[in-house]
Amino acid sequence: MAKISGAEIFIESLKKENVEVLFGYPGGAVIPIYDKLYDAPFKNVLTRHEQGAIHAADGYARSTGKVGVCISTSGPGATNLVTGLATAYMDSVPMVAFSGQVSSSLLGKDAFQEADVRGITMPITKHNYLVTDVKDLARIIKEAFYIASSGRPGPVLIDLPVDITKELAEFEYPESIDLPGYNPEYNIDKDKLSEAAELINSSKKAVIFAGGGAISSGAGNVLEAFAKKSRIPVITSLMGLGAFPEDNELSLGMPGMHGCRSANYALTESDLIIAVGVRFDDRVTGKLDTFAPNAKVIHIDIDPAEISKNVDALIPLIGDAKEVLEGLSPLIKESKKEAWITQICEWKTNNPYKYDDDSNEIKPQYVIEELNRLTDGKAVIVTEVGQNQMWAAQYYNYSVPRNFLSSGGLGTMGYGLPAALGAQLGRKDDVVIDISGDGSFQMNVQELATIKNYNLPVKIIILNNSSLGMVRQWQELFFEKRYSSTILENPDFVKLAEAYGIYAARIEDAKELSKALEDALNHDGPVLMDIKVAQEENVFPMVPAGKGIQEMIGG
C-alpha cells in the first residue's frame, strides 16, 4: 500500500467521517495540514479567531446534531480554543478539535509556540490525545469521533505535532473501535423500568423535567407521546428548550433562576419528578434543601455520574433518554390527573412572563416577542449571555429541538455570533438569528468578517442597553445601584457592520420596530440591527442567589 503523509491521513480520515465543514485558523504547526485543506473536498471555513472557530463548530454541532470539527495552530492558537472546549464540555456538545503542536523532538522544551495543550484541556474535554506516532493517527481520529458523539456527547481534542503531519504511513481507516474502558451503551434495567412505571402510575402530581439530554438523544417525539399518554406536564430546562413544544397545554416552560413561576411552583409542589437528561444545575434548583421537598425523583440519564450528583434519585434509569422513554411508555396507564393539570393551568394563566410596556423606550422583551411573531417561532435562535439570553429563552416560543443554541453551563459571552455562523452553515435553509447584548457582541465581533466572506445570512439583533445588563441588574438589586464597570460606551455598531460590508440599521423608536425587523428578516444576506432598548430593564421573575425557587421576585 502506498504511504501518505500525516496531513493526508487527516484529510482522508475526515472524509471517512463525512465531515462537511471544518472551522479553523492556520499557523506554523498546521501549515502542512492547511496545504492539504487547500483542495480538500469539504468546506474549510477561515474564522478570524480560534475562539470563533470553535464556537462556530459548536453552533454547527448543536443545530445539526453532527460532530463539529475545528482546528488551530499550536501555542496561542490552541489556548484560544480553551473557552470553546469548556463551553462545549459543559453543554455536552459533540466536537472534535485539532490543535497543532510543536515537533515531537521539541516537546517539553518550551519551544516557540509550545503549550501543554493536553494538560490544559484535560479537565474540559471528554477525552484528549497527543499523537506520538503517525501510524496511530487514523485510529485516534476514528476514536475521537466515536467518543465525541456516543454516550453523553462531548468535545475531544487531538494535539498533533507538526512532524507527524509530515511523516508517512499507510492509510487504513479502522473498521472497529477497541476501547475497553469505554462502553457508552447501556442495557436498560427492566426491573427499574417497572418500578418507575408503578411510581408514575400512582403519582398524583408528577412533572417531567427535560433537558439537553432529551435533545441530544432525539427524544422529542417520544417525549411528546409519553407526556400526552400519561397526562404529565413538561418543564424544559434552558438546555432543553424545544424538547417539548411550548404551545402544548402540558408545557410549563423553563424553571430556575429566571424561569417562569408556574414551572418553579410545579417543581416545588410535585410528588414526582421524571428527570430526562438534566443535571439539576444550581441555576435550576436554587437552594438545594428546599428544592422540590415532596418529590421523589426518577432520573433518566446516559451518564451514571449525574445520578444523585445534586438531587437524590430514588429510581435511576441509565441509558439513552429516547430508548428509556420508549421502554417506559407501554407501562404507563392512561390516568386522570386532572386536578393537577387544572392547578398547573391556573399557575400558567396567572403567571405569564410579563413586562411593563408603558414607556416610550423599546422593551427588549417586545423585540423577542416580535421576532417570535414574525418568524412564527421557527427560527434558529442563538444567544449571547446575560439578559439577552434570558429574554430569548422566555419570550420566544420553542417548538422543535435544536432551535435554541446558548451557552448554558459555562455562560460564555462571545458565543453567539460565531455559533450563529456555524449554525447557518449547518442549516442553510433556516433563518438563523443571533440575539446579542452590546457587551457580548464585542467579544467575538471580528467574526463579522467571516459572516461576510461566506455571505451567511445571519440576522444579528443587538439588544443595545449600553451596559453589561445582567451584571448591572445585580448591582441594581443587590449592590445599591453602584454600577461598577457595567455602563458601556459603545462604538457605532451600524458603521462597524458597514465597515465589514454588512447591511445594518439602528432602531430607536418602538413604532418602527416591527417593520424594521421584518425588513431585516427579508433581507437576503447578513444583517445587523442595533436596537436601542431600555437601559434599566430587568429580567424577571428572579430567584435571588441562595433562595429556594419558590421564592421568586418580580415578574
Binding site: 484535560m122 477525552h127 476501547l179 474502558g181 455520574a305
Partner: protein, 163 residues
Amino acid sequence: MKHKHILSVTVANHPGVLTRISGLLSRRNFNIDSLNVGETDNPDYSRMTIELSADDRTLEQVKKQLDKLIEVIEIIELDKSNIVDRDLALIRVDCPKENRSEIIQIVDTFRAKVVDLSKDSIMIEATGTEYKIEGLIEILKEFGIRDIVRTGIVALNRGQVTD
C-alpha cells in the same frame, strides 16, 4: 460520615493517565490519602490503589467520575474485611550507640528490618498494614525520627473461599 475506602483501579498503561486521575480527584475536591501505581501482569494495564476518606455519597461520585475516564478499565472497591493490604515504610531514626540495642529490639518486635546503620542513625524498613506501620512510627518518635517515606497502601482481594 466519612470512612476510609480503598479503590483498586485498573487503567490503560498510557502516559498521562496518572495526571488524568489525580487531576480529576483534586479538581472535584475528593481527598486522596494515598495513591499507588504499578504495572499488572498485563503490560497494557496498570493498577492503582487509591485510598481516600469520603462519605458514601462522595464515594459514589468518585467511582462514577473515575469510571467516565476512557482510560479507566475497571474500578473495584475493596472490602476491608476481605483483603490483604500492605504499606511499606523506610524510617531513619536518630540512633547514638547507646540506643542501638533498644531500637533493634523494637524493630524485631514489629518484624521490621534494619537496612542501614551509621554512627548516629539507623534506617528501618517496615512492611505491614497501615495500622502496624503507624504503631511502629509512634514508638520510634521518642528516639527522634529524621525521615520517613511510605508507599501508601497496596491491596488485593483475598482468594475466594470455595465450598
